[in-house]
Each structure stands twice: as structure tokens, then as C-alpha cells.
């Protein structure tokens, strides 16, 4: 009897020990972030760390849709997610709402500095909010001008360096091709995050910004109006963009460009892998990538993108989650993402890596673009700032408001948020 009892106890202990060794982590990523590639990366981690199982939860296809779901999960303090991939515009919000586990807890100050020195400086700035390290970079991103190399070659054009050149080239090619399905310049105009970048690009290119270094609002109605007018003119005056740009999201432009329907597209880096590798792509080998055009006498400006890994404050496995987070934000994983998903690395040395350059020849010129790309406003109320901007541009593109009206409303809306 006693022996039986001891046997049962020992068996129970062993079983509980085995259970304790088995750790389950759950990682949240977006639908556009190539869950197939992420699975491969996590399989490697599972092999190296027996007893750790990592599940992927795939969210909506856009940054906004993912955040809607995450807001529900995080405001209800749901522990089901351990690690979350967040857009570069979010760390301030996550810090303010207390959704992220501060990473400083695991990194003494010296170790933190030497770790952060490896990344591109823009991503270090984006992930430190009020001195707290909120997240670590997964990959970098910026907006580029994707163009149809074959069409530009046919008409003897070099990739445009100014917007006037781009407009002129688009007009010539559209006239020459006489293809009713071909459009000139594609940009984001619907009510989504990408449209915020559209609104800001001309402002940055003209030397302006939303705030100064101290975070005070400096955007004027005149700067806003010029930006809105520029995009409206592409449709109505220069006729290089179709009249329904108010319906176009980034991925709509990407899909249409893939079907050969655009000469130029202002897109983020992920588009490249789709153009080159998707089975339905009709533009394989016909796409070139250039730095965003500048205005005459101005400078080239690109919108800084990129995604970060953060640990949910409600995770029950924070220590294990931290180990996985360090792996996910390592140069090794960044290289896999560059090779298989054309994600720009957050590590400068990978832009010279021969394997990476073989898969993405245009990465050779991409580093300066990422280094000079401008960040969208950093503010805990960023979602409201974004909503004011994208609805303003969307209304102008739908011709329901004049650029003057919309510019006034945008600046007023921003003043309320910034309390100025």
C-alpha cells in the first residue's frame, strides 16, 4: 500500500515536472506580415529550445485592424498573448496605457546601450518612450517609389528624382500606351494608416513637420493646404492618377501594380517580394525601386515604417517571452525576414550582406532612405492625430472639402489634441 502511494506520488511529481518544462508562448502578428515565414522562424526556435512551444495568432491585414483587436485584448488584461508585433507609431500609446512590459527590467543599463547600438538609430528612438525601452525592432521599413522599369526604358526615361519629372514621365507614357487599364501615380488615399504618410510626405519634402524637436505643434494651415492640393492636382490637374484615389489603400495599389495597372506606386518595402515572387504577378523583373522624388529645390522625404516586438504586460511567461523576443529581434531573424519577405533589416550591416543583396538588389541603395526617413508624430494620442490627417486628405480626394477647408480642420483638430 505504502509502496503504491509512493509510486503514485513519484509519478505525479514527474508529470508535473514535465508539465512545468513545457512552456507555451503565443505570438501575435498581422496578416500582411507573412505568417508562413514567421512559422519557419519559430520552428527553428522550438528546435533549439525543447519544451517551448510557440503559437502564432494572425490578426487583420492592416495596422489599424490589428490594433482594434489588440485594444480589446489588452484593455481586458487578457493573458493569452505573450509577444506582440506592433507598428512603429504605437510604442508611445503602449507605454501610456501600460500594455507593455518594460524591457529595462531584463537589461542592465550598460547591456541595454550596447544592444541598442546595433540597431538603426531611428528604431532606438522609436522604441524608447520617456526613458523606458518598450519594444525591440523586428524589421525596418520606409516608403519608396516603385516604378515600371520596362515602361520607363521603352520611353527612354531614367527613374525620376523630382515630382515634376515623375508627373511628366507618367503623362508621356499614358499618352503613348493608350491603355485604359494603365494608371500613372499610385498613392494611398482611403481612410487607413498609409494615407497619413501620403499627407505628410509633401510637408516633409518642403522642409516642414508636424512638431518641433520639443514636441510642440508647428504645422501651419498653409503647409497642410499645399500637401492636400498636391495630391488633388495629381488627379484633377495633371491627370496622372485616376479620379477615385479616395478609395485606394496601399494593398489595393500593390495588387493593381502587380496586375500591370500602375506606372508608379509609392509603397512600403514589402511590395517587392510580392512583385517578384507571387504566382499571379505580371510584373516579375519589370519593377524598379527608387528613392521618393523631391520637389524642385526641396529634399527627398520618406515615411518611416517598421515593426517592433513588445511583451504584453499581462503575459504569464514574461521571462520566457523575453528570451523569445531577443531571438526575434536578432540579426539572424532579420536576415531571414529580408531574404524571404523583403523586409528591410533594422541592422545596418545586413544592407551589405551578399545573400540579402542577391534576393533584394535594391537594398544596396535603401540604407540612406531608411536613415533619412521621417517619423510620424510620436504622441500617446497618435490614433486621433492620424484620424484627423487621413480623413482630411480623404475628404479632399473625394472632393467633399476644398484643400483650404480641410487644412483648417486638420490644424484645428491637431491643436485640440496637442492642447495648443
Amino acid at each position: 500500500m505504502v509502496r503504491l502511494l509512493v509510486g503514485v506520488l513519484v509519478a505525479l511529481l514527474l508529470a508535473s515536472g514535465a508539465l512545468a518544462q513545457q512552456v507555451k508562448l503565443r505570438v501575435f502578428i498581422g496578416g500582411q506580415q507573412r505568417p508562413d515565414v514567421m512559422r519557419k522562424i519559430l520552428d527553428v526556435y522550438e528546435q533549439r529550445n525543447p519544451g517551448v512551444k510557440v503559437e502564432i495568432e494572425v490578426g487583420g491585414a492592416t495596422s489599424d485592424q490589428q490594433q482594434q483587436y489588440l485594444t480589446t485584448v489588452l484593455t481586458s488584461r487578457d493573458p493569452s498573448l505573450d509577444i506582440i508585433l506592433i507598428d512603429i507609431i504605437r510604442p508611445a500609446q503602449y507605454k501610456a496605457a501600460g500594455w507593455s512590459e518594460p524591457l529595462d527590467r531584463y537589461l542592465p543599463l550598460g547591456a541595454r546601450d550596447s544592444l541598442l547600438r546595433q540597431y538603426l538609430p531611428a528604431y532606438v528612438r522609436a522604441n524608447i518612450v520617456d526613458g523606458t525601452l518598450v519594444a525591440l525592432p523586428a524589421f525596418a521599413d520606409a516608403q519608396f517609389l516603385f516604378y515600371r522599369k520596362d515602361l520607363l526604358d521603352k520611353y527612354g526615361f531614367k527613374p525620376p528624382t523630382t515630382w515634376d519629372e515623375a508627373i511628366g514621365q507618367a503623362q508621356t507614357i499614358l499618352q503613348g500606351e493608350r491603355n485604359p487599364n494603365l494608371n500613372g501615380i499610385g498613392f494611398m488615399g482611403n481612410i487607413s494608416e498609409g494615407t497619413v504618410c501620403s499627407f505628410l510626405l509633401p510637408i516633409w519634402a518642403a522642409g516642414g513637420d508636424v512638431t518641433d524637436e520639443r514636441g510642440r505643434l508647428v504645422l501651419t494651415e498653409d503647409m497642410a493646404r499645399r500637401s492636400l492640393q498636391f495630391w488633388l492636382d495629381l488627379m484633377d490637374r495633371h491627370r496622372v492618377s485616376p479620379p477615385n484615389m479616395a478609395e485606394k489603400a496601399q494593398d489595393t495599389i500593390r495588387r493593381e501594380m502587380q496586375q500591370g495597372r500602375w506606372i508608379f506606386g509609392t509603397l512600403f518595402a514589402y511590395a517587392w517580394a510580392h512583385f517578384q515572387n507571387d504566382p499571379d504577378s505580371q510584373v516579375k523583373g519589370k519593377i524598379g525601386v527608387a528613392v521618393m522624388p523631391r520637389f524642385e529645390g526641396g529634399r527627398s522625404a520618406s515615411c518611416l515604417g517598421g515593426w517592433q516586438w513588445t511583451i504584453s504586460n499581462f503575459s504569464r511567461n514574461k521571462a520566457q517571452a523575453y528570451r523569445l523576443l531577443r531571438y526575434l529581434s536578432s540579426p539572424e531573424v532579420a536576415k531571414v525576414l529580408a531574404l524571404e519577405a523583403s523586409n528591410l533589416p533594422a541592422f545596418p550591416e545586413l544592407y551589405r550582406d551578399p545573400d540579402v543583396l542577391r534576393a533584394n538588389p535594391w537594398f544596396a541603395d535603401a540604407l540612406p532612405v531608411v536613415l533619412n526617413a521621417r517619423a510620424r508624430p510620436v504622441h500617446p494620442r497618435y490614433p486621433e492625430i492620424a484620424d484627423v490627417m487621413r480623413r482630411g486628405l480623404n475628404a479632399v480626394l473625394a472632393r467633399t472639402k476644398t484643400p483650404e477647408q480641410a487644412a483648417r480642420e486638420i490644424v484645428q483638430g491637431l491643436r485640440t489634441i496637442y492642447g495648443q
Binding site: 485594444t71 501610456a96 496605457a97 501600460g98 481612410i191 494620442r381 480626394l397 473625394a398 467633399t400
Partner: protein
């Protein structure tokens, strides 16, 4: 039924029997779980919402709110975007409730015709009703899409210029309204069909004998006897119309600009997107009051009808 009731009132008038009391107690005990459940899932959240609406609670400034009294409601009165959302919501209600009632009545009358095979008609009736709202919204978005949509394809084939259904505020409103009417008229039709089938056949036979024409039969028999069902359908349809969210959300996202943003969509933007729970709650209370007021109005109307 009426005799039993009469006896129990007579009993109560004399004295309360112990059996009666225990039955009443039993009834309360039996009702308790239902009340508890209702309190938990309806009353408590509504009360919590009202309390939250008195706080300045914006997650961008931390998870702790500060009591501000009616400040959120004061802001509501000056908020042009709220006024616009209210206007859009009322317009959608004014257009889609009568629209769905008319189309639903037509469908119900069609489905009530003496077909030998009834199921294809009934299935056609049920399908829009059974479809999730956001599905319907997505389907109609593609329907009205300016480059690849069916509607513009038809226009092009007729030699007409394609229209920008979803980026013109007026067209977007009508496209959304048409989709809502299509989606919700089958609910109205289902309720009305049940009402139609409860009308005794004898009335129609009598009307036939008296030589009434089809219009007289409809106007003098069908419509008056259908009124209670129509009333129920209208109440439910109006409340759901005031809460319209899914279809415009999927079709336009409230755009162009804010032109097709409804109250429910604005509440979602304030809370889920902006994390401004205090102000968002005040907006939600406004919608709640609007729904309650509409229901009260309908009920008063009903009481007056019954009183006559």
C-alpha cells in the same frame, strides 16, 4: 383562463392564503436567475457605461480616470463630428426603415401566394437575413466598387459613365441605404409573413363572395389585420437602424471624410481606436437615450391605439 384569474383575485380580496403566498415566493425564486442574468449582462454594463461617461478616462493619459461630472456631455453639444454622425444616423433610419417595411411587405405578400413549392421563395427570403451584416457590407462594397464593381460594369455596358459610388458622399449614402434595405427587408418580411398566415381564410372567402376587388381586399382586410405585426417589425427595425454600424463600416469606413459615419461608428472610433473611454461612453449614452426615447414613442403610440 379568465375564470381562473377572476377566482384568484376574489381570493386575494378576502385573504391571502398561505398557498398563494408560497406560490408567489416560488415565482420570485424562479424569476431570480433570469433577473440576475439580465442584471449582469444588461443593467450592470449600462450603469457602468453611465458612470464611466462622468469620468475623464483617456488611456493615453493612463488607466486611472478623473471625475469630471457632465463635462463630456457639454463637449458632446459642441462636437461637430457627433452632430454629423447623429444626422447620418437619423437619415439612414428615415430612409431604410420605411424602405425595408415596403420591400418587406412586398416580399411577404409574394411569399404568401399559394405556390405549390414554397421552399425556394422562403429560402430566398431567409438568405439575406441569415447573412452576417459585415458580409453583406463587404459584398456590397465590391458591388459598388468603381473599377471592378458590377454596378459600374452595367452602367458602362449601357454606355453611361461609371459613378464613384463610395467616394461621393450622396451616392455613398444611397448605396449604403440600398444595401441596408436589401439586408433588413427580409427580417420585416419574416415577421409580416407570420402575421399574414394568422389571418383567417374565411375573411377572404367572405370578401370574394361580396365581390371585393384585390385592392379592397388588401386595404380593408390584409393591412388592418397585419398592423400589429407591422408595428413589431417597425420597432425592431428602427432600433437596429439607429444602431447601424456594420454595413457602412465595411462599405466606406465612414468616408469620404466623415460623410457616412454613424453614431455607432463614432463611438467605436472614440473608444476602441482613440482609447477615449470617458467621452466615448458619453456618446454611447446619447445613443442609448435615443433608442430608449424611440421605443417609448412607439409604446405610447401602441397604448393609444389599444385604448381606442
Amino acid at each position: 383562463m379568465s375564470r381562473g384569474l377572476g377566482r384568484s383575485t376574489a381570493n386575494r380580496a378576502m385573504r391571502r392564503s398561505p398557498r398563494d403566498l408560497s406560490e408567489r415566493a416560488l415565482a420570485s425564486w424562479l424569476l431570480l436567475p433570469a433577473f440576475a442574468l439580465l442584471g449582469l449582462v444588461a443593467v450592470y454594463p449600462v450603469l457602468d457605461l453611465m458612470v464611466t461617461s462622468l469620468y475623464e478616462l483617456h488611456l493615453a493619459y493612463g488607466p486611472k480616470g478623473a471625475f469630471v461630472g457632465l463635462a463630456n456631455y457639454e463637449r458632446l453639444l459642441e462636437d461637430a463630428r457627433f452632430a454629423n454622425a447623429l444626422r447620418v444616423t437619423l437619415l439612414i433610419t428615415l430612409v431604410t426603415v420605411p424602405g425595408a417595411a415596403l420591400l418587406g411587405l412586398l416580399l411577404a405578400l409574394l411569399a404568401n401566394l399559394p405556390y405549390t413549392v414554397k421552399w425556394p421563395v422562403r429560402l430566398g427570403l431567409l438568405l439575406p437575413w441569415a447573412m452576417p451584416l459585415v458580409f453583406a457590407g463587404l459584398i456590397f462594397r465590391w458591388f459598388f466598387e468603381s473599377d471592378y464593381g458590377v454596378v459600374n460594369d452595367v452602367l458602362r455596358k449601357l454606355g453611361l459613365a461609371p459613378l464613384f459610388w463610395l467616394s461621393d458622399p450622396r451616392l455613398a449614402f444611397w448605396a449604403i441605404s440600398a444595401s441596408i434595405i436589401w439586408k433588413t427587408s427580409s427580417f420585416v418580411a419574416l415577421v409580416l409573413l407570420a402575421g399574414l398566415q394568422s389571418i383567417p381564410k374565411e375573411y377572404y372567402e367572405a370578401a370574394q363572395v361580396d365581390g371585393a376587388n384585390a385592392w379592397q381586399v388588401f386595404y380593408r382586410i390584409t393591412l388592418p389585420l397585419l398592423a400589429p405585426s407591422l408595428f413589431v417589425a417597425l420597432v425592431f427595425r428602427t432600433i437596429t437602424a439607429l444602431q447601424t454600424f456594420d454595413i457602412p463600416y465595411a462599405m466606406t469606413g465612414g468616408g469620404p471624410g466623415n460623410a457616412t459615419e454613424t453614431l455607432a461608428m463614432y463611438i467605436r472610433t472614440q473608444t476602441v481606436e482613440n482609447l477615449n473611454f470617458g467621452y466615448g461612453s458619453a456618446t454611447a449614452v446619447a445613443l442609448f437615450v435615443l433608442c430608449m426615447a424611440t421605443t417609448a414613442l412607439y409604446l405610447r403610440f401602441l397604448q393609444r391605439e389599444e385604448g381606442e
